[in-house]
């Protein structure tokens, strides 16, 4: 395999990551902002283009790899995490991004998503969540709100929605974060953090489908309400939000969270800790939602645990040390043999 000399690599720019393909999302689609964010972050990572692979499933978001001037594999519905796992286990030196949507990742591909996260394969998984099936023209997705009327649910969806962050934390993902298509600086911050994480990095991105589910996140992301409806997480800082930052979150004695009014005094509030190894606090955070609570954005969880690919490499090395590097002669002669003359 080709080794790359980072010293000699010319400094890349955003333009280096733009492919020659026309971007064919609907005008106004939130995917454009996410694409731009990723293309901005990529050159900052200092990783040569050929070492980066984008793998996707099916859906609007999954057209993503065509627009990146890196290696790319647009695969089949829901299976991107599994395909990416095979790439990573074969070539641990590559940086692999999985692009998926709420339907692709949580419905048809739900199984692969949770197992990839529990194994902690070193992949960056970006789940574009617009709470609708866009490519198939407007049916409910696993994150659609209960009662939502769509073409496939004309009298209202009976399903209860998945919370992607809770699914990720429940699967023991080692990095879990959320950001928003229209908040470019925050989006880039979260992407950088995901890129830096060793292990499965799961990022939910609130994304607007202006054709089939326009304004689905407006009630939390609109400029006027954002500060009251979003809880911007910062490691080591108390959980404070609101226009004047006069609201905080603390735990009741019964271990349920509550919003309290504060006046400069943050003592007693929960202090955000991404690195807690137990999942309880991060799970609690993932459950925060309106109308009583703001929704968390930023990095909920970032813990370092051995990755599947590291463990696999290590195991292979150990067995090789114990048994010696295999050769065909030994393989064929394994077990009992006898001579016929």
């Amino acid at each position: 395999m080709t080794q790359c000399n980072l010293e000699q690599a010319p400094k890349l720019t955003r333009k280096d990551f733009i492919s020659d393909q026309d971007v064919r999302w609907c005008p106004g689609c939130g995917d454009y902002a996410i694409l731009a964010g990723i293309q901005r972050v990529m050159p900052e990572l200092g990783i040569p283009r050929e070492k980066i692979v984008f793998v996707s499933g099916i859906g609007c978001s999954s057209r993503f790899p065509y627009y990146m001037n890196t290696y790319g594999f647009h695969s089949i519905h829901g299976r991107a995490p599994a395909i990416a796992t095979g790439i990573k286990l074969t070539r641990p030196d590559l940086m692999i991004w999985v692009i998926t949507g709420d339907g692709d990742g949580l419905s048809i591909g739900g199984n692969h998503l949770i197992h990839t996260m529990r194994r902690n394969v070193d992949l960056k998984i970006l789940l574009f969540n617009n709470r609708i099936y866009g490519l198939t023209k407007g049916q409910t997705s696993p994150t659609s709100v209960h009662g939502m009327k769509t073409k496939s649910t004309p009298f209202g969806a009976l399903d209860r929605p998945f919370n992607p962050l809770s699914v990720a934390i429940g699967s023991a993902a080692t990095f879990v974060a959320r950001s928003i298509d229209i908040d470019s600086p925050h989006l880039q911050y979260v992407l950088r953090r995901a890129a830096d994480h060793k292990g499965t990095a799961f990022v939910e991105l609130y994304q607007n489908c202006n054709v089939f589910n326009d304004g689905t996140w407006e009630s939390v992301t609109d400029k006027d309400v954002r500060s009251d409806r979003l809880l911007v997480l910062e490691h080591g800082k108390p959980l404070v939000f609101g226009k004047e930052r006069k609201k905080g979150i603390r735990m009741r004695p019964d271990m349920s969270p509550e919003v309290v009014e504060i006046d400069g005094d943050t003592s007693g509030l929960l202090i955000h800790d991404e690195t807690r190894t137990d999942e309880g606090y991060h799970f609690m955070l993932s459950r925060l939602s309106g109308p009583d609570f703001p929704q968390p954005v930023g990095v909920l969880r970032a813990v370092r645990e051995p990755t599947y690919d590291e463990l696999m490499t290590e195991q292979g090395r150990t067995v090789s040390q114990q048994q010696g590097k295999g050769n065909l002669e030994k393989l064929l002669h394994a077990g009992e043999t006898w001579m016929v003359s």
Binding site: K51, Y71, R79, A82, T90, R91, N111, H112, L328
Partner: protein, 636 residues
């Protein structure tokens, strides 16, 4: 037992004469907790070391442990050994060792009149007799009068032999199978020392159990020596076998070793993404033993993830292999289509079992041929090959890899439950004689397009991520010819469909011609594929000995088929296609070659018996001859 040649006393055994036999078939049968599979494999190993040619047939229930003593829990292991070439595990046993009444009831119909029954009378208790559905003890009610019955209280003898060894009753019960093994060692004149060593090695972690099993083994052996039950001991002289080093190998082991060998010959890492499924799991188990051979085994969350991860690995530059059985193969279909579209090398091993759906998980069938050849959406051609014997699984695994890599396409290798678990002595190839599998990763960006094609094979270049200057995107959407961008253009799609079909069709120029067993022309040709090889070949051999003008054609390449298949078919008056399905190869041959072939089908979860094929041929040719006579008479 057949073909007794002579009777003479063997030196060292003055008590009993020893008869020489050409061929013996023994079936060990008992409850699934009785260790019959172990007994069978241990006996088989010894048979191999004594120089016989052999074939085996393990037959066990799908239930992990059905209630003890019931018909559902019967497990059996048949071994056929001979001084002549052996093609199958034998149609019917000469000797039936039964550890309980249920085993007798299930297996007796296969034992010909006059056959030997060795029964553990100690397990013929009233409850066990009832559980097997007998109203009276079959050992006592005269119903076995046509057989040579040797009723031995193995349970009691083992208990006596192991007295004072400090074992629990359960542990004592578990040694019964080694008693039976010892008895068979005596009967067939096998040396004890080697087996005792083997038992010690097998149970080295538990020396107490090792000693108990050896004691039971000896007790069985010495019982044979002293009890004067049997009028004679038997010996099967060594077969005339090609010189070389041999090992005992099952189809699944051979497949696994073949895959590792292929990866080494190609200097690639081997990636096996798999999901456990009977009867394919042993391939995964075997591969998992060899991480020091650059083997990555990935037990995925499901069949789809298994094949998807494998496709990812192939994309990243490994020899990608996924192993499964019928239902798992069904789940992998969409991903196989992706590999066809992305034109990546992929080896899919389908160890077929009885279907549809969950079907008969532990029983064999050949009914996934259509699934392999056609079972995907769209025009989705893949290469399909099938090994003929357990040892051939090694060679076909290598062949699958070679074709997949050279032609950048998925190759399906159709094994089946019978090959997978069946075993034969296998002659080890000389490593130096194995041909390297050339692999070219394109690294030159000059003039590169993802769907440029090698003119001869039409294979597109294999470019692995990490190669500078070659960044490109592939995927499941239709691609523009050469350029590789997504294309919905009408004529481009037709062109690409035709190219993908042509790419597979051209492989016909690189596979060997099919060879006929027997004469190149004649009255009847039996066509088979996969594990029916043994039964068909043996049937043809015996029919030809009796003067029939019958030949056999065994297809190891099913898509595409060897170039000369049509010509061979045309050289025979009758074409009979024998397969363990309702006529899948039959339909393909009729469609491709417009040949008036007829089918012979068996869908019982069991392989063909030689006699079944012989009878079928007699039926066809016999009827034909009569018809001819009538016609002549009328004309006359």
């Amino acid at each position: 037992m057949s073909n007794i040649k002579n009777t003479q006393s063997a030196p060292g055994d003055r008590q009993r004469p020893t008869s020489e036999l050409e061929t013996v078939v023994i079936r060990f049968a008992g409850d699934s907790g009785d260790g019959m599979q172990l007994t069978g494999t241990e006996f088989t190993k010894s048979v191999a070391l004594e120089g016989s040619d052999l074939a085996t047939f393990p037959d066990y229930p799908a239930e992990i442990r059905a209630p003890a003593g019931t018909l559902a829990g019967v497990s059996a292991y048949q071994v056929h050994f001979s001084s002549q070439e052996v093609f199958t595990p034998g149609d019917q046993p000469d000797v039936l060792v039964v550890m309980n009444p249920a085993a007798l009831r299930i297996n007796l119909p296969d034992l010909p009149r006059g056959g030997i029954i060795i029964a553990n009378v100690g397990s013929f208790t009233q409850p066990n007799i009832e559980k097997a559905g007998y109203t009276a003890n079959p050992l006592e009610d005269g119903s076995l009068s046509g057989y040579q019955v040797f009723a031995i209280d193995i349970s009691k003898q083992v208990a006596l032999a192991l007295e004072g060894m400090g074992l629990t009753a359960k542990e004592v019960g578990r040694c019964k199978n080694f008693y039976a093994l010892g008895l068979m060692f005596w009967l067939y004149n096998h040396p004890m020392e080697r087996e005792e060593k083997s038992i010690r090695a097998k149970f080295q972690k538990n020396p107490k159990i090792a000693e108990a099993n050896i004691t039971a083994f000896r007790a069985g052996y010495y019982y044979g020596e002293t009890a004067e039950l049997f009028p004679s001991r038997f010996v099967v002289p060594p077969a005339v076998i090609a010189p070389g080093t041999y090992r005992h190998i099952t189809g699944n082991e051979a497949t696994a070793i073949g895959l590792i060998t292929a990866a080494q010959l190609a200097s690639l890492p081997l990636f096996c993404g798999s999901y456990p499924i009977t009867p394919a799991s042993d391939i995964l188990h075997t591969l998992a033993m060899y991480p020091h051979y650059d083997v990555i085994t990935f037990q995925a969350e499901d069949e789809i993830a298994a094949v998807a991860a494998t496709i990812g690995a192939a994309y990243a530059g490994a020899l990608g292999v996924t192993t499964t059985s019928g239902p798992g193969m069904a789940l992998k279909s969409e991903a196989i289509g992706l590999a066809v579209m992305a034109e990546l090398p992929l080896v899919i091993v389908n160890v077929q079992r009885g279907g549809p759906s969950t079907g008969l998980p532990t029983k064999t069938e050949q009914a996934d041929l259509f699934q392999a050849v056609f079972g995907r959406n769209g025009e989705c051609p893949v290469v399909v090959i099938a090994p003929a014997t357990p040892g051939d699984c090694f060679w076909m695994a290598i062949e699958a890899a070679r074709i997949a890599i050279r032609h950048m396409c998925p190759v399906i290798c159709l094994s089946d439950g019978y090959l997978a678990n069946g075993a034969e002595p296998w002659k080890l190839p000389e490593v130096a004689s194995l041909q390297k599998i050339p692999v070219t990763f394109r690294t030159d960006p000059q003039g590169f397009y993802p769907y440029l094609r090698e003119p001869k094979t039409l294979a597109r270049p294999w470019v692995v991520p990490g190669t500078p200057g070659m960044e490109h995107r592939i995927g499941g959407l239709e691609k523009e010819d050469v350029i590789g961008n997504v294309s919905y253009e009408a004529n481009n799609h037709e062109k690409m469909v035709r190219i993908r079909a042509e790419k597979i069709a051209r492989i016909v120029h690189e596979i060997p011609n099919a060879t006929v067993y027997g004469d190149p022309s004649g009255d009847l040709l039996i066509v088979g594929w996969g594990s029916t090889y043994g039964a068909i070949t043996q049937a043809v051999k015996s029919l030809r000995r009796r003067g029939y003008r019958v030949s056999a054609l065994h297809l190891r390449y099913l898509n595409p088929m060897s170039a000369n298949v049509g010509q061979i078919l045309a050289n025979f008056r009758h074409v009979l296609v024998a397969e363990m399905n309702l006529g899948q190869l039959l339909m393909m041959l009729r469609a491709q070659f417009l040949v008036d072939a007829v089918g012979f089908h068996k869908i019982q979860g069991r392989p063909f018996k030689i006699s079944e094929i012989v009878t079928k041929v007699e039926e066809i040719l016999g009827a034909r001859e009569q018809a001819e006579l009538c016609t002549h008479a009328e004309v006359g």
